[in-house]
Symmetry: C2
Subunit: 428 residues, 2 copies
């Protein structure tokens, strides 16, 4: 079979799913906030009620994942606990408490001829999510989609297939129980990889496709998709410690950025230190990273500052580009701000870069000259997160510039529409 | 040569253009509003000074176009006059008077931990424009690009190649004269169709590609492009005359929507009339359209209301889907609002739909249930235009939902970036 062909039966089935989603989306677009919030609360209740089954199915997925040699980071993301389920349900309740983005007036004016313009937020329509073995994304996507008036089509990865099926069923029941279409939330997990390819080609049926996962998945979707796509979340994030840094703060920021949850995209992967403060700062930070269990890949000249007994190897070109998603870090020396900017421009994935400095001019130059979604000045890269930013749960972190950039919450799942009210105006 | 291969020399040349654009874009992104406005005013002056040459080259393009059998609508768009050049230069001056979108704070907040977030507008970077034989788009794109801090790469269609070359040269000189990089404005016209294909594949070098022209061009770009694309301007726009319409206003709106400038995308192509007011309204509107020289394609039952002597033929399926871009109109009867919505949902390209009614409920239902970029209530479809909306000159009218929808002005040519200012915050 040629690489661009897709199994016809699967294509037909996925297109049917998408058509049902379109029908649901039309109804959902007109639903009141009250009804949508009622559905979200019912979804939270339904998820908790189904908790035992979800955990049992999750345990089976975990066992299978271990047998299949799934990486520790992936297993961490896949694993559910009672506490995590309660947290996920809580996120749905928080969404119910948030303002409805649909109908929000973004801009408006009255033209000289009396024509009244309003630009309002409207749902995208049908949103597809392709992600890897993260059951919390299943719930977040369903909840964010519903609140923003979008029907979602989910493909959650074979490693989480049983968990996701156990989650989606009660969510659909809850949506229907609140008087909204059950097809607001659908999965195509049962159609496997061919189903993903059919979804990527469903032009005119899918308004937005969000791939969320490793670089390979995202690049494949961007390359193959014939529907609008937003690239998310490949995070080769940098922390730059400037000569004018408060080194105590910098130490805390580096450790937090790397260690607090290394398996996610907003964890830092590379530390850059101004050569002039290396003798003072590097021994402390390398010792702290090493104590925290971080495997160190050290650039030219850095090893000389490693405390005796610290394990490390020499960083090569691939380390500067790597998204480790684990307890590993590349550490390099740079010649001041210019060196840091040059390095980051070369290797960054455009996610989050942090500078530690007390110098206003350098902080501003770092923020304005680096072309990444988020710039942190004296704060951990780990704050790049829809929940932390107060956007509600997030559907992903966009690393592209079109439509949305950085954490994507409710507003980022909407489009706009102009409504122009006249009383007979014609153009001269 | 396989359909997906692109000539290597052309690819290399276009990639060089794109790399120069990236370098220019980095400088342009940091340019002050004062300097950009100075460049825009110089561009206006430069264009006027080059006016005689531009007109002479335009006349050659027009002669060639006529020899090659270019359609009347295309020739109309291609033709420049002194008056049009003055108008185009004036548009550049107006851009200089508009607020700079770059740096605008879109949202912001202080988190409980003291971290201060600002989401600010930043340029997209490198914007490619692929369009057909409209020299005014060359100037608008260069001006909008410069004001919004983007470097533009233009491909203006072979039919306008001489005109565009004569325009771009003084624009580049003006930009350089103002101390900004000349490569902020570049053309790839000299590389022909292969150049377009190379541009569509320049992943990582082009941040946004805007095709503007006929449906064929736009679909080809959407299908082939590997860089982010915004679909623009295919306009199968409808005017629906409701039972509760003020028929005098409706008559004016229908005629204006169809006749005032039929060659552009916001002209109406289909008129739908509620069956209940057909006997009263149709004879008037058909006579007026016929008098204005509009070729009529009439749906079932409409012909009976055509005044004696009116020329018409029977509308077939293709008429309902057609974007005539000329003095032709399809006219159909519908059963009230539901019938109109059903018809428009089936055939619309999602550009602009107008309703003529004095009934509030039906106006609201039309506006909320139709999924098009712009809804006009008792106003001509011809108002869907960046200039008319007060956005400054427009780069195109987006008919997609991602990033921008409707007329695209300065703000639509920007992305955003989050800048987060802390004093040592780490995530708990």
């Amino acid at each position: 079979m040629a690489v661009t062909e897709v199994d016809a039966a699967v294509t037909g089935a996925v297109e049917d799913v998408a058509r049902r989603a379109r029908v649901a989306a039309r109804e959902l677009a007109l639903a009141s906030r009250a009804r949508k919030d009622q559905a979200l609360l019912a979804m939270a209740d339904g998820l908790l009620e189904a908790g035992d089954l979800v955990l049992a199915e999750n345990r089976i997925d975990l066992v299978t994942g271990r047998e299949n040699g799934l990486a520790a980071g992936l297993l961490d993301r896949l694993e559910l606990t009672v506490e995590r389920i309660v947290g996920i349900a809580e996120a749905l309740r928080e969404l119910a408490g948030m303002a409805d983005p649909v109908g929000e007036v973004v801009r408006g004016s009255a033209l000289p001829n009396g024509l009244r313009l309003r630009q309002i937020r409207v749902p995208m329509g049908v949103v597809g999510m392709i992600y890897e073995a993260r059951p919390n994304v299943t719930v977040d996507a369903a909840g964010l989609g519903l609140k923003s008036g979008n029907a979602v089509i989910l493909r959650g990865g074979s490693a989480a297939e049983r968990t996701n099926a156990a989650i989606i069923e009660p969510l659909r029941r809850a949506v229907a129980g609140a008087g909204l279409p059950a097809d607001s939330v659908q999965t195509i997990d049962q159609y496997g990889r061919e189903g993903v390819r059919a979804l990527m080609r469903a032009r005119g049926l899918v308004d937005l496709l969000v791939p969320r996962g490793g670089a390979g998945l995202i690049q494949a979707v961007v390359r193959e998709a014939q529907v609008p796509v937003i690239e998310t979340g490949v995070g080769n994030c940098h922390v730059y410690v400037d000569a004018a840094a408060d080194q105590d703060k910098a130490l805390g920021i580096v450790i937090n950025s790397k260690v607090q949850r290394p398996s996610v995209c907003n964890a830092a992967e590379t530390l850059l230190v101004d050569r002039s403060v290396a003798p003072e700062f590097l021994p402390r930070v390398l010792a702290a990273l090493s104590d925290a269990g971080v495997k160190l890949h050290l650039g030219a000249g850095v090893g000389a500052f490693a405390p005796p007994g610290t394990a490390w190897d020499a960083a090569d070109e691939s380390d500067w580009a790597a998204e480790y998603l684990g307890l590993e870090m590349a550490v390099g020396l740079v010649d001041g701000l210019e060196g840091a900017i040059e390095h980051i421009q070369r290797y960054s994935s455009g996610h989050t870069e942090a500078i530690c400095t007390e110098d206003l001019g350098r902080a501003q130059a770092f923020a304005s000259r680096l072309d990444s979604a988020v710039i942190m000045i004296n704060a951990s890269t780990r704050f790049t997160d829809g929940g932390q930013f107060g956007l509600g749960a997030e559907i992903g972190i966009s690393t592209q510039k079109l439509h949305a950039r950085g954490p994507m919450g409710l507003a980022e799942l909407t489009s706009t529409k102009w409504i122009c009210l006249g009383d007979g105006q014609v153009r001269a």
